[in-house]
């Protein structure tokens, strides 16, 4: 992970020599910008606009209602329940996916022979679509045929996915973590293999205990990778798990754990609540922006790049 420099705007991009042309750069940028404006900025602006309006359900125009939609969302206890679940879900998925990915990477890094085989066997799950993972997970947690349900029964736990809130949440987290482990594994393994042998040897001389060596030398060197993965994993848990959740709750959100993104989708497309859904979108945008700023300002400061 050497190439992960901080983005410093176009200053960093500047070459010593460049072309100067009055219109060519705009021509090259035009397709990308056109798509970004039509499919990114326009809908984003529209989300903000319609969050202030109450849409007539029969399509007879809309009324300006100011912040009512936001007030409705923020007053609802249901919304806060979902927000709480989203936070817990994100934290658990991120933690376990990172921890297991790191553990496997450290072990694979230590094993010289067989490294390539382990690598191949561990990364391919990355390519599986979240809904496909969700479907397989559903089958494994199925009341009639699921081996994991049987397994849990040994311990006296009767898993009822789809009926019991906690059990469904548990199954979702297991599937979401399973799907994300390979991604973290790849990055941690490349990070580990990028640490020079001389550094490892010096560390081995200085510090006998392998575990302490890992904590004091190896892990700090992996910090940039870990920071980057933290952002990616949080984003994954918040957004990319949509397919897993949708397959597992099958449109019956009522008693099932769902995330904020799923709620936006339910209210907008199932409930036809345009204003409410838009207000939620805007709240979500703000959450993501705050998270991003927070991550860059507070966490990255503690990370040392070489």
């Amino acid at each position: 992970m050497r190439g992960r420099s901080k983005d410093q705007g176009e200053q960093a991009a500047a070459k010593r020599v460049q072309f100067a042309s009055p219109f060519l750069p705009y021509l090259f940028l035009a397709p990308q910008l056109a798509i970004i404006f039509v499919f990114f900025y326009w809908p984003s602006a529209q989300a903000i606009q319609s969050s202030f309006y109450l849409e007539d359900p029969f399509g007879f125009g809309s009324t300006f209602v100011g912040l009512t939609n936001y007030a409705d969302v923020l007053k609802s206890t249901e919304y806060f329940g979902i927000a709480r679940f989203t936070a817990i879900f994100t934290a658990l998925v991120t933690f376990f996916a990172l921890a297991i990915g790191l553990l496997l990477a450290v072990k694979a890094d230590g094993v010289i022979r067989g490294n390539a085989t382990y690598k191949t066997l561990l990364i391919w799950v990355y390519a599986i679509a979240p809904p496909a993972a969700g479907l397989i997970g559903m089958m494994f947690f199925n009341q009639h045929i699921g081996p994991l349900v049987e397994f849990a029964r040994w311990f006296g736990w009767d898993i009822k996915v789809g009926l019991d809130y906690f059990d469904t949440a548990f199954a979702m987290i297991v599937v979401a973590v399973w799907k994300q482990i390979p991604y973290n594994f790849i990055f941690f393994l490349s990070g580990l293999q990028g640490i020079p042998v001389s550094v490892r040897e010096a560390a081995a001389i200085d510090c006998r205990s392998e575990l302490r060596r890992f904590w004091t030398v190896i892990l700090p060197l992996l910090a940039p990778t870990a920071f980057f993965l933290l952002i990616i994993n949080v984003t994954y848990a918040l957004f990319d798990t949509f397919g897993i959740i949708d397959v597992m709750v099958k449109d019956k959100a009522a008693n099932n754990p769902i995330t904020l993104v799923y709620k936006v989708y339910m209210d907008g497309f199932r409930g036809n609540d345009l204003g409410g859904s838009s207000a939620q979108s805007v709240i979500l945008m703000l959450i993501v922006l705050v998270l991003t700023v927070f991550q860059f300002r507070f966490i990255e400061r503690r990370v040392h790049y070489n």
Partner: protein
């Protein structure tokens, strides 16, 4: 230094078991008959009904929805995956070229206009995006399926990073030879970027193939369903049937994961290179 211990291998093997097992079981189970699965649960043995099940899923008209076959869905997934990957590479290379190799007013403004798209994924603005598609009459079209997904700048940043690492001397030499911007781009930069393009193609193909939310919203016409989208359909059809077609559901899931998994396994060197050697 590298003292390999038994415990390391045990942990790795448990990891491999956890990652590989569910898919192996899914595949094996898909070769059994539905009633058999219903009675005996998931299976690790060969059920002997491979050809029938997969033929049904691939070829039966109206298998799930009344109009579309699994083969059609696979074709649609392919169009989405390849279209998205190619579109991403073309757009991003051009934009990154402009940002890295040209000096022009407003450059930093455009940089930020593009950069901000990395912050907000499509999922947070689904409803308004859908409305825009409606306004442009792009629902149930391949354009509508592919183009809005291109509105994020991941690829641009991969290529920007890569172009920055290209030595300045190349451009100087090219200019001495009298090469203009087009010639430099096509004769020098594109050939240099071949492995980068391959790596990004793989990542973007997998990403496009695996799209779920957007195709779910965009396609109501079953002729445009992708395989990943079809998974939801098969689960909805289940409700009400006596013995759910577990075998067909598994077969569909296996088909939906096959192309991206094959590509990642076969080209893992490029895939890993693309993932790890640049900004995401």
């Amino acid at each position: 230094m590298h003292r390999t211990r038994l415990l390391d291998h045990v942990i790795l093997l448990i990891g491999v078991f956890i990652m590989v097992m569910p898919v192996v079981v899914a595949f094996m189970t898909s070769t059994h008959e539905a009633a058999d699965i219903h009675r005996n649960g998931l299976s690790l043995t060969w059920g002997g009904h491979f050809a029938e099940t997969y033929e049904t899923v691939l070829a039966r008209e109206g298998g799930f929805t009344g109009k579309v076959t699994g083969f059609n869905m696979m074709l649609n997934s392919m169009i989405l995956g390849v279209g998205f990957a190619v579109g991403k590479i073309v757009l991003s290379m051009l934009a990154a070229y402009a940002i890295v190799y040209f000096r022009f007013p407003l450059a930093s403004l455009f940089f930020w206009v593009i950069f901000t798209t990395l912050l907000l994924p499509l999922e947070v603005r689904i409803l308004p995006s859908y409305e825009v598609m409606n306004a442009l009459r792009l629902t149930n079209t391949y354009t509508g399926l592919i183009v809005p997904l291109l509105a994020s700048a991941t690829g641009t940043f991969y290529f920007r990073q890569f172009f920055k690492s290209v030595p300045d001397e190349l451009l100087e030499a090219a200019r001495i030879d009298g090469a203009g911007p087009f010639k430099f781009f096509i004769d020098v930069l594109v050939p240099l970027s071949r492995t980068m393009m391959a790596a990004i193609f793989i990542i973007m193909f997998v990403y496009g193939w695996n799209q779920y939310l957007w195709p779910t919203l965009m396609t109501t016409d079953e002729g445009f369903f992708t395989l990943v989208r079809g998974i939801k359909q098969i689960l909805l059809v289940w409700v009400g049937s006596n013995i759910p077609d577990y075998n067909e559901a598994f077969a569909l899931a296996i088909l939906a994961m096959l192309p991206p998994v094959i590509i990642v396994v076969m080209f893992q060197r490029w895939f890993i290179k693309g993932l790890t050697e640049s900004d995401k």
